[in-house]
C-alpha cells in the first residue's frame, strides 16, 4: 500500500516525451558518495554515468563544469497559497520558484482557504500539481478547518497517499486532541508534523522575546512558547509510540529537547528553516515586516545551536517554510502584517553559506543587548539636532550599575549582556554533500517520497534511477532581487543582499525545466 500511495499522493508533471540529455562535466553527488561523471538521461530516467560519456546524436548537452549534479532538492514545507490566496502565489508560480531553487519536489502545506482538511481540496491541489514544473506532494490538516477542535478525515486523506499531516500556521493547542491524533495516525502509518507554538505563552508576540523586543517595544514571543509544545509532544510520542516530525524548530532549547528524545529512542524527526540559520532578531530593528516570520528570527545563540544541530546530525532536514505574501499585506504595522518569507529560490545558497562556509549571520554584531540599545532605530537621526557629533558610546549606554543595595537587583546580574558569538564556541562546518543531504535525500524520506518508499526523489543518481536532478554551482555569487524571483510575491528577506550558490540547471522527470538559470516554461 505504501508504494501505491506514495506515488498517488503526488502530481507529477508530464508534457510528452522528454528529450535525451547529457549533463556534462559535473561532479555527481548523492547519499552514496561523489564521483566525477557525465550523466545520460532518457525517458525520465538516468541511463548511464561515465567520466567521459559519448554524446548520442540529437541529445541536449547541459554544461555542468564546476557544478554538483545531485538528486533534486525536496522541500518539506512550502506554502503554495492555492486555493484561496492566488494573489500571493499559485501552485504553478511556486513550482517555478522551486525548480529555479533546485527543488524537484515540494510538500504543499494545508493552510489554504479552504484548508486541505478534506479529500476534495486535496484532490484539487494534486490536480493543480500535475501541471506544475515539479512534483507537488500534499500535507493534510490534523484538525477540521485547522481549528484544533476535532480530527480531520485522516484515513480518507491517507487513502489519497497523503503521508504528512499538520495544522501548520498553528500548533494543536489541545494536548488531549493531539494525543488522539497521534494514536489515530499511528494505525494509518502516517506522520504528524507539529508547528510548535503554545499560543498562550506566545501571547501574540510578533518577534522573538529578548533584548531586541524589549528595546523596540514590540510584543515578544519567548522561545519557551515553542519549547513548551515540543516538550509536550515528545511526552505524547512517548505515550503513543506514534512517529512525529517537528516543523521549523528555531530555538536552542527545542533542539536540546529533541536531542534527548532521540537519544531515548523516540521516533521523531525535525527540520529547521534556512532563515533561522542565517538571520537574527536584530533584523527587526528597522520595523520592516519582511522580517516577521513565525517562529520568529531568534538570537545569535539560537542560530549557532541550529547550525550545530545540523552539523551533528540531530537536525534531519532543512525546509524552506516558503510563505509568500503580497506587498500590500506586508506594508502594514508589524503587529498587523502576516508572518512569513519567501524561501524556495534562496534556500540552497543560504543553507550552504550558513552550514558549509560558516558565514556570520546578518546582523550578528547587532544581535547583542548593547547593540539593541546603542543602535536604536536606524534612520531616526535628527540631522543637525544632536549638535556636536555622535554621543560617546560610554555615555549612550548609560552608567554601569553599582553594587546593589536594599531590595535592588543590579540589572546586569539579572539579565546581563546577551550571549554574543563566543557563547556557542566554534560550530563545525559541514561538507557540501551533507548540506545537500539535508535538502534532498533526508527530507525525501520524511515526506515518503524516497525511492525505497515507492517514491522517486532523493536519489541515488544511478542508471535506472529517476532523473530528478539539480545542477548546483556552489561558488557563483549573485545579488537577490525580489522583483525578479519567480514567486508572485516579493517578500524575500534577502532582497539586495549577496549570496553565493546558484542553480544552473534542473531536470524534473528528465525534462530540463531550468537551463542556465532560466526557467524553460
Amino acid at each position: 500500500m505504501a508504494e501505491r500511495a506514495g506515488r498517488a499522493a503526488t502530481g507529477s508533471s508530464s508534457t510528452g516525451p522528454a528529450p535525451t540529455v547529457v549533463v556534462r562535466g559535473g561532479t555527481v553527488l548523492d547519499e552514496q558518495g561523489e564521483r566525477r561523471a557525465d550523466v545520460l538521461v532518457r525517458d525520465g530516467r538516468v541511463v548511464a554515468l561515465h567520466p567521459d560519456l559519448d554524446v548520442p546524436a540529437g541529445a541536449t548537452v547541459l554544461d555542468a563544469g564546476g557544478c554538483l549534479v545531485a538528486p533534486g532538492l525536496v522541500d518539506l514545507h512550502s506554502h503554495l497559497r492555492q486555493p484561496g490566496a492566488e494573489e500571493a502565489e499559485t501552485v504553478e508560480t511556486a513550482s517555478r520558484a522551486a525548480v529555479l531553487g533546485g527543488y524537484s519536489a515540494v510538500v504543499a502545506m494545508p493552510n489554504t482557504d479552504p484548508p486541505i482538511d478534506d479529500v476534495s481540496v486535496a484532490r484539487h491541489v494534486l490536480e493543480l500539481g500535475r501541471e506544475a514544473l515539479c512534483t507537488v506532494s500534499v500535507a493534510g490538516a490534523i484538525t477540521v478547518g485547522r481549528a484544533g477542535e476535532r480530527l480531520a478525515p485522516m484515513a480518507e486523506l491517507a487513502g489519497l497517499g497523503i503521508r504528512l499531516f499538520t495544522d501548520d500556521g498553528a500548533g494543536v493547542q489541545d494536548g488531549g486532541l493531539m494525543r488522539r491524533a497521534l494514536q489515530y495516525a499511528r494505525a494509518l502509518g502516517v506522520v504528524l508534523a507539529q508547528h510548535c507554538e503554545d499560543r498562550a505563552i506566545a501571547a501574540g508576540g510578533v518577534m522573538h522575546e529578548g533584548a531586541w523586543s524589549s528595546r523596540l517595544g514590540l510584543p515578544g514571543a519567548p522561545a519557551a512558547a515553542e519549547e513548551a509544545m515540543v516538550a509536550r509532544d515528545l511526552a505524547l510520542v512517548g505515550l503513543t509510540g506514534a512517529p512525529m516530525h517537528f516543523l521549523h524548530l528555531s530555538s536552542a532549547g527545542s533542539l536540546a529537547l529533541v536531542a534527548a528524545a532521540k537519544a531515548g529512542g523516540l521516533p521523531v524527526t525535525c527540520e529547521v528553516a534556512p532563515h533561522h540559520l542565517a538571520l537574527t532578531e536584530a533584523e527587526l530593528a528597522g520595523y520592516d515586516p519582511i522580517f516577521k516570520v513565525n517562529p520568529p528570527l531568534r538570537a545569535w545563540r539560537d542560530v549557532l545551536a541550529l547550525r550545530r544541530g545540523c552539523a551533528e546530525g540531530l537536525v534531519d532536514a532543512v525546509a524552506t517554510d516558503h510563505a509568500p505574501h503580497p506587498p500590500e499585506a506586508k506594508d502594514a504595522p508589524l503587529d498587523h502584517a502576516p508572518p512569513g518569507m519567501l524561501g524556495l529560490q534562496t534556500a540552497w545558497a543560504v543553507t550552504l553559506g550558513a552550514l558549509h562556509r560558516g558565514e556570520p549571520a546578518y546582523g550578528e554584531v547587532e544581535a547583542t543587548a548593547e547593540g539593541a540599545w546603542d543602535r536604536a532605530v536606524p534612520g531616526g537621526a535628527m540631522r543637525g539636532m544632536a549638535g556636536g557629533g555622535p554621543v560617546p558610546a560610554e555615555r549612550s549606554r548609560g552608567h554601569l550599575p553599582v553594587p546593589a543595595t536594599g531590595g535592588q537587583v543590579p540589572v546586569r546580574a539579572r539579565s546581563g549582556r546577551l550571549p554574543a558569538r563566543d557563547s556557542g564556541g566554534q560550530v563545525p562546518t559541514m561538507t557540501v554533500r551533507d548540506v545537500v543531504g539535508l535538502l534532498s535525500w533526508r527530507p525525501a524520506r520524511i515526506a515518503g517520497l524516497a525511492v525505497d518508499q515507492g517514491g522517486e526523489h532523493g536519489g541515488p543518481v544511478v542508471p535506472g534511477g529517476f532523473a530528478h536532478l539539480c545542477v548546483l554551482d556552489p561558488a557563483e555569487p549573485w545579488t537577490v532581487d525580489g522583483a525578479t524571483l519567480a514567486s508572485r510575491s516579493r517578500n524575500t528577506p534577502w532582497h539586495g543582499r549577496r549570496l553565493t550558490g546558484t542553480v544552473r540547471h534542473m531536470l524534473v522527470a528528465g525534462e530540463p525545466v531550468v537551463v542556465a538559470g532560466e526557467a524553460q516554461r
Binding site: 523596540l216 504595522p333 503587529d335 554584531v365 539636532m385 549638535g387 556636536g388 531590595g407 535592588q408 546581563g416
Partner: protein
C-alpha cells in the same frame, strides 16, 4: 559590521523617531531652545512667524486628544499650517492603507508628519514611505520622545528652583547622578522607554520599580541603575518619583491579580510620599487614574508637577518642530540668541527662505 548599511534601507533624514537619536547634546539643545518658547508662551500673543508657510500633518491613528492638541498648538504658535487626520475622519476608515494615506498627504505638500499609532514602529515605517520629516508622537510600547523631552524640561525647572538658579542659567549637568524611580507598568510603556533613554543619556541613575509581570522580557542593555519590586525600599533615596499609568486598556490589568493589590504595592499614597525627601518631585505622564497608581491627595500636592509637564509640552514640541523644519539660517541664529524665533531680521530671512521651499514642494 553590519552588512547592509543602515542608510540603504533607512536614508538619514530629519526625523525624530527615538529620543536616543538626540543623544545628550541634542536633548540639551532642545531644552535650551524650549526656554525661549516658554517665554513666548507667556506673551499676550504667544505666536512667532518662524515656520510660516510650512505645513504639519498630525496623523493620530490611536485616540489621543492631549498630545495631538499639544502638537497642533505648538505648530500654530510657530505659524505653521496644521492638517489633522484621524481614522474617523479620513479614508483610513474606508480601508485605505496607511502607506497610501501617508503618500497621498505627502503629495499635497506637507512638510512634517506627527504620527501616533498603537503599533510600535509605525513612525519608522512612515519615515521609509515618505521623504518628509516624521515625529514620533507615541508608537505602541516603543517610544514617546517628546514626552521624555518635556519631562526632562520639567525636571530641569524643578532642579533649578531647588538650587535657587534661573532655569536659563542651568544645563543638563543637573541630571548627572539624579536619582529617578520609574514606577509601574514598564513593559507596556513607551513613556518609560523614552524616559529611560533620555535620563540615561543625561547621566541620571534610573531605578525601575515594578512587579515582574510588568517588566519587559529582558532588561539587557537598558541604561538603568537597578530594578526592584519594592517601592518602599527606594522612596527615601530618590529625587524624582515617576509614576506610570497602569494601562488597563491594553490588558495590563491581567498582569496583576487586582487593582487593589497593585495599588497596595505600587500606588503612590500620601503615606509613601511622606517617606520621600522634602524636595523630591512626583511626575506622571497623564492621564492619571486617581486611586490606582496615584492617590487623589498626592495628585494635587505642590511637589506633583503634572500640570507643569503639560505646560512644558507645548514649548518642547515647538522646539522639536523648529529644529526639524526651521531653515539652516534660523537654526544658526538660534545658537546666536534666538533671533529667528523672535522675528528679528534673521527670522525674516529665514521665513522667506522657508516659504520659498514650501512653495517649491507644493
Amino acid at each position: 559590521m553590519t552588512t547592509v548599511p543602515a542608510d540603504v534601507l533607512h536614508p538619514p533624514r530629519t526625523s525624530l523617531l527615538s529620543v536616543a537619536d538626540l543623544g545628550a547634546e541634542g536633548i540639551a539643545r532642545v531644552l535650551r531652545l524650549s526656554d525661549h518658547f516658554v517665554e513666548i508662551g507667556r506673551r499676550p500673543i504667544p505666536k512667532v512667524p518662524a515656520l510660516r508657510g510650512r505645513t504639519v500633518a498630525t496623523v493620530f491613528v490611536e485616540p489621543s486628544t492631549r498630545t495631538r492638541l499639544s502638537f497642533e498648538t505648538a505648530a500654530r504658535r510657530l505659524s505653521a499650517d496644521v492638517v489633522s487626520f484621524t481614522p474617523d475622519t479620513s479614508s483610513l476608515g474606508k480601508g485605505e492603507s496607511l502607506r497610501d494615506t501617508v503618500q497621498t498627504v505627502a503629495a499635497m505638500g506637507v512638510d512634517c508628519f506627527v504620527v501616533r499609532h498603537a503599533s510600535a514602529g509605525v513612525p519608522a515605517q512612515v519615515a521609509r514611505w515618505t521623504s518628509r520629516s516624521v515625529v514620533n508622537a507615541g508608537d505602541g510600547w516603543h517610544e514617546h520622545p517628546t514626552q521624555a523631552l518635556l519631562d526632562c524640561a520639567t525636571i530641569r525647572q524643578a532642579l533649578a528652583e531647588r538650587a535657587g538658579l534661573r532655569v536659563a542659567d542651568t544645563g543638563v549637568e543637573l541630571f548627572d547622578g539624579l536619582r529617578v524611580a520609574v514606577v509601574g507598568d514598564v513593559a507596556h510603556s513607551r513613556v518609560a522607554r523614552s524616559n529611560v533613554l533620555a535620563l540615561g543619556a543625561l547621566g541620571a541613575r534610573v531605578t525601575l520599580v515594578a512587579p515582574g509581570s510588568l517588566l519587559p522580557g529582558s532588561l539587557a542593555g537598558w541604561p538603568v541603575h537597578g530594578v526592584t519590586a519594592d517601592l518602599d525600599a527606594v522612596l527615601g533615596e530618590i529625587d524624582v518619583c515617576y509614576v506610570l499609568r497602569l494601562q488597563t486598556e491594553r490588558g495590563a490589568g491581567a498582569f496583576v491579580p487586582s487593582l487593589r493589590e497593585y495599588t497596595a504595592g505600587y500606588g503612590l499614597t500620601a503615606r509613601r510620599v511622606a517617606r520621600m525627601a522634602g524636595d523630591a518631585i512626583v511626575m506622571h505622564p497623564g492621564p492619571m487614574v486617581r486611586g490606582v497608581e496615584i492617590a487623589d491627595d498626592v495628585a494635587d500636592l505642590p511637589r506633583t508637577v503634572v500640570l507643569r509637564q503639560v505646560a512644558n509640552g507645548v514649548a518642547v514640541r515647538m522646539a522639536v518642530l523648529f529644529l526639524l523644519l526651521g531653515s539652516d539660517e534660523q537654526l544658526a541664529s538660534d545658537e546666536l540668541g534666538a533671533g529667528a524665533i523672535h522675528g528679528g531680521s534673521a527670522g525674516a530671512r529665514g521665513s522667506a527662505h522657508a516659504e520659498k521651499r514650501g512653495a517649491g514642494r507644493g
